[in-house]
Symmetry: C2
Subunit: 600 residues, 2 copies
């Protein structure tokens, strides 16, 4: 299956149109401002300033911002934004070394260590810059960065493949691999695909440097990638690598790589993923841990890891289309990823816990040696500010994840209001997701359609040209051949549903979450008071939707009141009340408070 590129897809209205508007008008400017204030752009001038040293991550932050800008400008002119981007690109291009190398940290502060230290993100930054160059080029906004990054990729090829004189074989933070696939596709030059193959093939074949606190599984270089079957180590590193592996498996028809990718996906989706689609449960190294280890309070579940999981799903679907990949994409998008940004488009979460206690947060911060705790509210910039521009670039390119085509069949994989030409037919999609399940598709031209039936759907009714039609569902897709202009009305039945975690997930023992369509819901103390942990939901039969500031599900629930003593032989007394549940992605938009997903 091939997906329809975001440039060929117009996001028309509704939920994601609003999000893109916020993104283009607020978020991308606000991120620019924060990056500017923190010296990130100044660092691109490559002028030594020992008091305000640049950071080894900064180039990648800027690159993702540029990539976001490319996606925005591809859709709509914005002279101000274009100017900001141009200046940034000029700085990069004019400070690129003769040989093609560019890294605002290394070439200024440690030129002697270029490509010597594996753990310091050079290839990671290069990868993001290459992605930005390709995005700018393909958006038709700028071609200088693309040309510059091709030269950089050539230099990388020269050092790693030809001269082999670098201090390591493969990057400590995978990313360049998937970027080089994009460069290969954009340029058509086999050399870049060879470079991808080189990095993928060499990984895990050498004894390579890693961090002193970790073993090589931390960066997935513990065994050759084709032998890997389990998601391990730093979640973002892992999922960027797996994405590139899936790309390469598809392009090369590599069976061993395909097998590894499929096994790793199963391992994540069936053992190591939060209900929100969050990946990487441990704050200690931001890592995947072991099967069913999904703590709620100290969930790490980084926004970037969620985005990387979405990228992996997208590539798996291209490799071998299966609704399960789009299901996980949808889960992580509407829950973990969307939670990454505040409602006003300015603040971001790096860490996305599934349960939050203000008291823990206050206590951990009160200590002289502060203890890790997820943030209670989204902030505008982080020291390692990878998540904010990663969020904006995904939202701006969301059009690319909706439609697919393959073997003369047009796929609708995500229900996001959009239009595009798919298999020669024009498809206009109107979606009321995520809050309602009504979908309208206007298909102009003959077309063999496959419409994905979401896993959360409690049933579907379909009308074609105003006639009720029994949907022909095969492997989670409605199969429908349109011979002329057709209007298809789908109604995916949304009702609140309990979701149960596997009995192996001890953190959720005896508990259940509530989903509403693609949304995982949560309760916050500002609506429901404290002590959410003793709240039980006997039934969802009388749950009802109420629209206020946020989408809210009102659920008859029960909370238990104990006497005042710490331990008591007295059975707690139940109090009936109405629990207000909101979409998880909207939590923490009303000040600091407690939050919970899993109820009794």
């Amino acid at each position: 299956m091939k997906t329809i590129d975001y440039r060929q897809v117009e996001i028309r209205k509704g939920f994601f149109k609003e999000l893109q508007k916020l993104n283009a008008e607020v978020s991308v400017y606000n991120i620019y401002k924060r990056f500017d204030e923190t010296g990130r752009f100044r660092a691109l001038k490559c002028i030594r300033d020992d008091e305000h040293k640049s950071n080894i991550f900064w180039d990648s932050d800027i690159a993702k911002w540029l990539e976001s800008v490319a996606y925005i400008l591809a859709k709509k002119k914005d002279a101000k934004l274009q100017k900001l981007a141009k200046d940034v690109i000029d700085d990069i291009c004019s400070n690129q070394l003769e040989n093609g190398y560019f890294n605002s940290y290394f070439q200024v502060y440690e030129p002697e260590n270029i490509f010597k230290r594996r753990t310091d993100h050079e290839l990671y930054c290069a990868g993001h810059l290459i992605e930005a160059g390709v995005a700018m080029h393909e958006a038709g906004v700028d071609h200088n960065l693309y040309a510059a990054m091709k030269r950089y990729a050539d230099y990388i090829y020269d050092r790693f493949v030809v001269k082999k004189d670098t201090g390591f074989y493969t990057g400590g933070h995978p990313e360049v691999e998937l970027a080089l696939v994009k460069l290969y596709v954009a340029s058509g030059e086999e050399k870049y695909l060879d470079l991808v193959s080189h990095f993928i093939d060499e990984r895990g074949r050498h004894s390579e440097e890693t961090y002193p606190f970790a073993y090589n599984d931390y960066d997935q270089s513990h065994i050759p990638v084709r032998e890997q079957r389990e998601a391990v180590g730093h979640a973002v590193r892992a999922l960027y690598l797996y994405s590139a592996m899936a790309d390469l498996a598809r392009i090369k028809g590599d069976g061993a790589l395909t097998e590894a990718c499929e096994a790793i996906f199963e391992n994540i989706a069936e053992k190591k993923m939060y209900i929100t689609g969050g990946a990487g449960s441990s704050p200690h190294g931001e890592t995947f841990t072991f099967a069913y280890d999904l703590p709620n309070i100290y969930a790490y579940s980084e926004t970037c890891a969620g985005i990387a999981l979405a990228l992996f799903c997208d590539r798996l679907a291209k490799l071998k289309n299966d609704a399960k990949y789009h299901e996980v994409f949808e889960r992580v998008l509407y829950n973990n990823i969307l939670a990454g940004e505040s409602k006003d488009g300015k603040g971001f979460f790096y860490v996305n816990p599934l349960e939050f206690h203000e008291d823990i947060c206050d206590y951990n911060n009160s200590l002289r040696t502060k203890l890790f705790c997820p943030l209670p509210e989204r902030v505008e910039v982080f020291e390692c500010s990878c998540c904010p521009p990663n969020f904006t670039r995904l939202i701006e390119s969301i059009g690319g994840y909706i439609f697919g085509e393959g073997d003369g069949v047009a796929y609708v994989n995500q229900y996001i209001s959009a239009q595009a030409i798919v298999c020669g037919a024009k498809i206009v999609l109107d979606s009321s997701l995520p809050y309602k399940g009504k979908i309208r598709l206007k298909v102009s031209g003959a077309c063999r359609l496959r419409l994905r039936v979401p896993a959360w759907s409690g049933g579907v009714t379909m009308r074609v040209n105003d006639e009720r039609v029994q949907p022909n569902i095969q492997e989670k897709y409605i199969h429908l051949d349109c011979r002329e202009e057709s209007v298809i009305m789908l109604d995916f039945h949304i009702r609140p549903r309990f979701v149960y975690a596997n009995e192996g997930v001890w953190y959720d023992g005896g508990r259940k979450a509530v989903e509403y369509g693609p949304l995982v819901l949560c309760g916050e103390s500002c609506d429901n008071g404290k002590n959410l942990c003793s709240v039980s939901i006997p039934s969802l039969a009388r749950a009802k939707v109420s629209e206020g500031e946020f989408f809210t599900l009102e659920v008859p629930a029960r909370r238990m009141h104990t006497d005042k003593s710490l331990y008591s032989y007295e059975k707690p007394v139940p109090e009936e009340f109405t629990l207000h549940l909101i979409p998880y992605f909207l939590w923490a938009n009303r000040g600091k408070g407690d939050m919970q997903i899993w109820f009794l």
Copy 2:
């Protein structure tokens, strides 16, 4: 209320007699062996050995071992043990400095820093050595250590009170305070009480050094002690200090100190204590944290903190007798403290979690930078081996916590088989605790009795001289005046009971524990399989006791089985099974496995 000293109380038979036997025959020898192997005794020779430096804690480990030996030898001759102790005492006495100072670390490796660094446990070690000296002296085993430690206390007085030339005002690890109370009582010399007052009064009045990772609340020197109302900081430090405060409050009739002690006790018992009586929930600094923060998996709940809480309860009861203090003493003794030793008397726990997952333990240990995890099985020695000899000294002196007398009234506070003269009457107590509730008291001589009714008792029946008598219960004590030799049969009704944690304890939300008499029960995976977190106990009505290797309660229970997927809309399917619960203190005696106290 005055308690009857352990030397006046003969432990006759039953549970604690067996424990003392194990203690005297196995534990105390095994600890000696482990301490010997690790160089602790060699260090007392005070010969510089830079390759095998002694440790700042070691003197205190040895002191508690000596104290245990004193309690053993007070009851029964053991020439071998006496010889071992004598050699140890000889080494201490012969290496004590002219001025009275003794510390096997400082006088050898950093003589220039004697009483300079507050955080390095000098006064803590001194305190334990003083306690050992008093114990040896009062046991009539040895008087040299006592004399030596008096000289040491004199030296401390001279430096801290007279010369005031030390680098700090009060010790970074309280302990010497309660030891000096013992020295005052043993010697009758006011000077030592003055020294206690000095340390208690000065605490929190100065800006004192503490660890770089902590603020002064860590060692309870953040505010003057009389203003303290909340249990804070390192739990063992805190509880040793509070014990000394209660001693001083009683001896001096100090109302402000009494008020502080009472408030702190309430704060612990009603906000910060595990159901096992464990105190200090956080592994980060072994500290008390905030109200209701009682995590089960990462409970710290150090054995020494439990012992220190028992000591605080004992002193509070002496200050102002109230059954609540004996209730907490009983809770911590039979659960947290007893869990500290393995069934064979050789192994010890430092950390006492309330829930254990083998998988977490394996994972945390598999990391290159290992993460903290409670031990899966008890071990024979720790680097900081404070808990093992603390356990043995408490068990050997347990006789001192049974009886009390005051205002001509004889109190029975703990039901441990023992005999003693209380208020002039001989009381012979036969107890079937902890597994049965039948108690027999033979009282010879006229006596006004107060027999504590345990909180766990579901009722009590009483026979006096074979006649059924309605017990006169006031403030949790049966009041009974015996005019002649009386045989009193008590039957405290034991039935398994659910215990509920306060709604503020989110870790236990929707859950309940099972108690049987004074015992908190737990389930282990070796009896019940994995995934204990989904096990629910609908009722205890059909629970029945079965005696196997361990006391076992067989409880009809239910576990939920989910389908294989990680998340499912399918309601889990219940399976009825018989849950085997054993006393918490016996967990982890059958190899590594999962354990849980709080069930659905």
